[in-house]
């Protein structure tokens, strides 16, 4: 009923006053979703209310409703604020340029007004005091403009002869009672109720449309809220007009395709609000809507991409999730329709009390003696605070100029255009900033975090300094506001050793909550052992301390078209080909996730965090202005944006955005203060959480491949929701339950699924499949073996059936085994790759019937072992140069993070850390293989910017190359782990410029005569070298002939630049244990028809 009334008022909203009509005009720029105030007006205006938020400039479009503004006036009141940066108070703009009233940057006692146009500028002689309303009158016309102050002083500037006004901009907090007059009409703003201005038309007028409610990319369903989607139609003409609105809607999850059209009759001088979305269409989904309107003064067609998420009708819990700062500069960016609790914001000392270049504003070099009220406080932080959000503030001491710093660090200092950044802060000066901050926000900010990722930025080599900062922050802030909660460590990546050192150095006791970030891209959090990692963090943390995840995101593939995600296969291929936009070199470690992987990843990450005791989880990457403008994403580094965009820059929510929204909604009622527990069990991963009022919410997913699992829960129905918000009810297996508890068969995949219980507990029954052993396909064959366990009291005649998988021949397709109670049996399916089959991983579904006739299906993932190619070379071939094989075989490249088997950061790392592999620019290489009837030839090139040979030779602890061969036949054990006869490791000392010739050592053939295997090579420059190796078949094959295939791997080792030791090792196919495990080598087929590629 309430909705109906509101809608009725919106639809009938023309404000026809006596005489001329007043049309409400909402800001078209300066913020998002401004129809309803983000922050309400407050008392204290020049008359009535004012707007309290600083550094926001609203723009209003006046044309075509108000024309004839070649001359006119604006009267207004201005009250300057204390902050020092320059402010644009008022802007009148049109096609011939802009006319501005500005307050230049400066100390509060030196503030003046400036009038400026493209033709010149004039500054007031007298000063104006901040904190007091000053009346101004701005006039323009006939090529001149004048600004008259209340003291009578008038500033004048020239204007272009054809200057006219079509739009008005004003600094929201600085002006009040603004009235523009001209052309016979007027426009005024007074902030009494909202941000709208009142326009009295003049001239011919026109019919226009404005769309409201879509700006944050998340729409709501409450007409009273600013995120309710509406079209505002304005008719400022003297006639009745008919317009036709056409909506073309499509959605991604529910596959909605809806086209509708409606006609509206607009009275003269009328504003009408038209609801856009039918409530019946509103489900959890990503939508794409094209609105086109006929009958307006100008053609109108807009496309809006947005999402909606259904909330649960349950009492809310305390709130678990938040959005990270992400450098959001848009006023009103917050997606109100999502149940989010924490607004993460940075409070950087160097920005608030720092030099101008830091925030790119026009603020002058900051005077360290400036009074705190004139500092450049984070306005975006204040906006969120005023909007009623719970702030989580990251305090940062990073010195941005010399006066911030006590001492420089030997490494990691940054050179800015006019100053040096980094080093250890001057804690005395920093404490002043902390005191002022705590005073300013006393009682309003409850959560302060000490630094951002100090183990990676600022103090990676100085955990003891971090302990000092902790001491200062904790004592200073708590002294001002004892009720705040201080969060410490804020570790990222492999921060555990650093954290231990910081704690030992005295950080312990100087924070209340341990915070961290847990990026795992591109791996799924469970595959990256996030649970174990967080367990280790808990073990190393001060006993009983609370924990919190203050930032985590995921790299997703962006979109070619706004309306559809890029398919996983396409993303995988693009990542494999290392196409720009799909692989990151700046963020760690590498390839992006497709949208489904990314969605699963962020949900699992949050669930593992919450089940590990993290009390909150803040999403990184929600910024409506991300992905950033500039180059198309296909031409630049991927970032961690939670929203997507096309190469042309059209932004849209993605499935990942929806997954985050659904996660927040599904957990809205969860209460981390109540009991929770893991549900990990065999093939199942997940956890169960309590709700604030009653009931539970569980999240479950398959650990590896798709698996049906049996769970028990009270009742006969089980409500589930998938990561994209689709609801599904499962019915209990007939006859399987007891004691009021049903048994439910849940088909799980690696995509998480939410399960809601009104009461009682959820239990995952132990799987009858107790193990799956996979022998990956090597040489065309492999196998999958399932071990079944009979937990019943009777003999189980288990019948298994392997499903059809294109490209794979499975044998047998069916198998039946009798399993005694309490015993296990193993059933094996041999898998053969069909000729021409594509794909490197196959999922074989195996269905088994349980004793109660329930059928379970378990997906078993089997991969094809890596392989390369060798080219056939002429009989008289001689390998004497690094490029000798270039025309014969493709290069097997060593340049990917996945190949870093030593010196690779942990899977939870999000950034490159200096002691890990520094990317292909630091260490990379490539190998080619050739063969003829006499020998095998290997040519390799290596880029190593820190060439430093192993101190001990033979040894691998420095720059060197390792080649591995398995020349056994399948019957002799080709591909088996153990080193047998004819499995060889060659260690090659590289030819570093001017120092060494290449040398060879083979531990399996320590007395290898030098002439038997031919090694050559040379340095190309100080950072690159090549090697060549010729191995006669007669040395490694009993019959002296080329084999049909052989195992091969190549590794390159790189050193630290400044000390002995191995920094990184890249391996083509295998692992760092290749020297003792031959099962991970790649397979190289040799045969006819492989000449030159």
């Amino acid at each position: 009923m309430k909705h109906c009334l509101i809608l009725a008022s919106l639809c009938c909203g023309p404000a026809l006053l006596s005489g001329a009509a007043e049309l409400p005009v909402y800001p078209s720029g300066g913020g998002l979703n401004l129809r309803v105030p983000v922050v309400a007006p407050v008392a204290g205006g020049a008359k009535g209310n004012r707007l309290p938020f600083e550094m926001v400039r609203f723009t209003y479009e006046l044309a075509p409703h108000l024309t004839g503004l070649e001359a006119g006036s604006v009267s207004l009141f201005v009250e300057d604020c204390m902050r020092r940066p320059a402010k644009e108070v008022l802007t009148l703009g049109g096609p011939a340029g802009e006319l501005k009233v500005v307050i230049p940057a400066g100390p509060s006692q030196e503030r003046r007004f400036r009038l400026e146009s493209g033709e010149g500028r004039a500054d007031s002689r007298g000063t104006q005091a901040p904190g007091k309303w000053h009346k101004l009158l701005l006039t323009w016309g006939n090529g001149r403009a004048g600004l008259t102050q209340e003291n009578g002083e008038t500033l004048e500037v020239k204007l272009p002869e054809n200057f006219t006004v079509q739009r008005l901009g004003c600094s929201a907090s600085l002006v009040d009672e603004l009235e523009l007059k001209g052309g016979g009409g007027s426009f005024s703003v007074g902030w009494e109720r909202d941000y709208s201005g009142r326009l009295v038309p003049a001239g011919q007028g026109g019919v226009t449309a404005a769309v409201h409610g879509f700006d944050t990319y998340v729409i709501g369903s409450d007409p009273e809220k600013r995120d309710y989607p509406l079209v505002q139609l304005l008719n400022s003409t003297q006639e009745r007009r008919e317009v036709t609105l056409r909506y073309e809607l499509q959605s991604e999850v529910n596959r909605i395709r809806n086209v509708r059209q409606e006609k509206r009759l607009l009275e003269p001088g009328c504003s009408t609000m038209v609801p856009v979305m039918s409530p019946a269409l509103l489900q959890s989904d990503v939508y794409h809507l094209v609105i086109s309107i006929d009958g307006l003064s100008a053609p109108f067609r807009v496309k809006k991409n947005f999402l909606h998420v259904a909330r649960r009708p349950e009492p809310a819990g305390p709130g678990l999730f938040g959005l990270h700062d992400c450098d959001v500069k848009a006023f009103g960016f917050w997606p109100d329709a999502l149940p989010l609790r924490y607004a993460h914001k940075y409070l950087r000392w160097g920005w608030v009390q720092g030099p101008a270049f830091v925030d790119h504003s026009t603020a002058p070099e900051h005077d360290p003696a400036a009074p705190p009220q004139e500092w450049n406080w984070n306005a975006a932080l204040d906006w969120e605070l005023m909007a009623g959000r719970e702030l989580f503030v990251s305090l940062q001491s990073y010195p941005y100029s010399a006066w911030h710093r006590e001492r420089e660090y030997p490494r990691g200092m940054k050179q800015w255009p006019s100053a040096k950044g980094g080093g250890f802060p001057d804690l005395k000066k920093y404490a002043r900033f902390l005191r002022e901050s705590a005073e300013r926000y006393r009682g309003r900010i409850r959560h302060y975090e000490i630094e951002n990722e100090p183990n990676a930025y600022g103090m990676p080599e100085h955990p003891e300094d971090y302990a000092e900062v902790c001491r200062t922050v904790y004592r200073t802030v708590k002294a001002v506001d004892p009720d705040v909660r201080i969060y410490g460590v804020c570790g990222t990546g492999s921060f555990l050793p650093w954290m231990k050192r910081a704690l030992a150095a005295g950080a312990t006791g100087n924070f209340d909550v341990l915070s961290y970030h847990t990026y795992t891209t591109p791996r799924q959090p469970d595959q990256a052992n996030l649970r174990r990692f967080l367990g280790e963090v808990r073990e190393a943390a001060p006993a009983g301390i609370r924990r919190f995840n203050s930032e985590t995101g995921v790299l997703q593939a962006l979109r070619y078209e706004a309306d559809r995600p890029i398919p996983p296969e396409t993303v995988a291929l693009a990542a494999k080909e290392r196409r720009t936009g799909f692989v990151s070199t700046a963020s760690w470690p590498g390839r992006v996730n497709d949208e489904w992987e990314a969605s699963a990843s962020i949900v699992k990450n949050a669930v593992i965090n919450l089940a590990s005791g993290s009390e909150g989880f803040i999403f990184f990457g929600w910024n409506p202005e991300w992905p950033k403008d500039g180059k198309p994403w296909t031409e630049r580094e991927p970032d961690f944006s939670l929203l997507s965009a096309t190469p042309a820059g059209e932004r849209t929510p993605s499935l990942l955005s929806l997954a985050v929204a659904v996660l927040a909604a599904q957990f809205e009622s969860a209460d981390p203060g109540k009991s929770y527990r893991w549900l990990d069990s065999g093939e199942v991963r997940g956890a169960l959480f309590s709700k604030a009022a009653a009931g539970r919410v569980a999240v479950l997913w398959a650990a590896d491949a798709a698996a049906d699992v049996l769970v028990t829960a009270p009742g006969n129905e089980l409500e589930t929701v998938n990561v994209f918000g689709e609801r599904r009810i499962f019915r209990a297996v007939p006859g399987a339950g007891r004691d009021g508890r049903g048994v439910f068969l849940l088909p799980l995949t690696t995509m998480p699924r939410y399960v809601h219980l009104a009461d009682g507990e959820l239990e995952v029954l132990s799987s009858p499949v107790s193990a799956v052993e996979v022998e990956n396909i090597v040489g065309g064959t492999g196998s999958v073996a399932l071990t079944l366990l009979n937990t019943g009291d009777e003999v189980w005649n288990a019948r298994l059936e392997a499903g059809a998988v294109p490209g794979l021949v499975v044998s047998p397709r069916e198998e039946e085994v009798a399993i005694r109670p309490g015993r296990r049996r193993k059933v094996k399916f041999d898998c053969r790759l069909e000729a021409g089959a594509k794909g490197s991983v196959f999922e074989l579904p195996v269905t088994l019937r349980l004793p109660n006739n329930v059928e379970l299906t378990r997906g078993c993932r089997i991969g094809v072992s890596a392989s390369g190619a060798a080219g056939e070379v002429p009989e008289n071939f001689v390998l004497a140069a690094g490029d000798a094989l270039d025309g014969f075989a493709p290069e097997l490249k060593l340049d990917r993070i996945e190949q870093a088997v030593f010196g690779r950061p942990s899977d939870t790392a999000s950034i490159q850390e200096a002691h890990f592999w520094g990317g292909p620019a630091e260490l990379s290489g490539g190998f080619r293989l050739g063969w003829n009837r006499e020998a095998l030839f290997v040519a390799g090139r290596v880029r190593d910017i820190h060439p430093r040979l192993p101190e001990v030779w033979p040894g691998a602890l420095g720059s060197c190359v390792e080649l591995f061969f398995d020349f056994r036949t399948p019957a002799e054990g080709l591909g088996k782990a153990q080193y047998g006869r004819n499995v060889l490791q060659f260690l090659i000392l590289p030819p570093v410029a001017g120092k060494t010739k290449p040398q060879l050592w083979c531990p399996q053939l320590p007395e290898l005569p030098a002439e038997t295997v031919r090694l050559c090579g040379a340095a190309q420059d100080r950072q690159e070298y090549w090697i060549g190796l010729t191995i006669p078949w007669k040395l490694v094959r009993a019959d002296g002939n080329p084999p049909e295939r052989f195992g091969f791997d190549a590794g390159i080792n790189g050193s630290f630049g400044d000390r002995d030791g191995r920094k990184a090792q890249l391996m083509l196919f295998g692992t760092a244990r290749n020297f003792c495990d031959a099962s991970k080598f790649g397979m190289i087929p040799v045969g006819k028809g492989r000449r030159g590629q």
């Binding site: 015993r823 296990r824 049996r825």
Partner: protein
């Protein structure tokens, strides 16, 4: 004979002469243990340098119910005339010299081949196979002599099925009520202390058999 014995041990099951006696040492031996007594084994114990397994237990000890498993690689071509499994017992306390007059539980031998028999000891070895019979009674045994069991019938079946491996599992007939455990000398025990106590599968092939 002694020379042949060591030759065949060294070569495992890789070669076989028709009409010859072949003594095979196990490719793997170890124990399956049900620690919580729920009737389902949940752990596998095999010899490692860090944790040597010198005895294979059958029956119940303080730390759970134990089943012993031995697996052998079968010769590629063989026609079995006779086959026996030979194991050597340790005393109940595992000390030396063995104490006469001690007894473990009645112990049943299971023989398996097929998927579960793969040269490795795993949990799935627990449910496979057919019962070959009681090999140890619940009474005092003469510890000075090895236990020899005829497994000819099972070997023939395995060979007929084209099996590459064969496994033997020893478990107490009544595990829950077993008061003690038999202790069988493992391959590692034999390697360290007494080669003659190696658990051995002896195969005598038929004259003119297949191959």
């Amino acid at each position: 004979m002694k020379k042949l014995f060591f030759l065949t041990l060294a070569c495992g099951g890789a070669m076989l002469l028709n009409g010859a006696e072949l003594k095979l040492q196990s490719a793997a031996d170890g124990m399956l243990i049900d620690r919580n007594g729920d009737g389902v084994v949940e752990s596998v114990l095999t010899h490692t340098q860090e944790k040597p397994v010198l005895e294979l237990l059958t029956g119940k000890l303080g730390n759970g119910i134990h089943r012993s498993v031995l697996e052998y690689k079968l010769p590629e071509k063989s026609a079995v005339a006779k086959a026996t499994l030979t194991v050597t017992l340790n005393g109940r306390t595992g000390c030396h010299p063995d104490t006469p007059g001690i007894a473990g539980p009645e112990t049943v031998l299971w023989v398996y081949w097929g998927t579960e028999a793969d040269g490795k000891i795993g949990l799935a070895d627990d449910g496979a196979g057919e019962k070959a019979g009681v090999i140890l009674p619940n009474r005092a045994a003469d510890l000075s002599r090895p236990v020899v069991v005829d497994v000819t019938e099972q070997l023939k079946k395995a060979v007929a099925a084209g099996a590459g491996w064969i496994g033997f599992r020893l478990e107490a007939a009544d595990e829950k009520n077993a008061a003690a455990a038999w202790r069988i000398r493992s391959s590692e025990f034999a390697r360290r202390y007494a080669a003659s106590s190696l658990p051995v599968l002896t195969i005598v092939t038929e004259q003119g058999g297949r191959g």
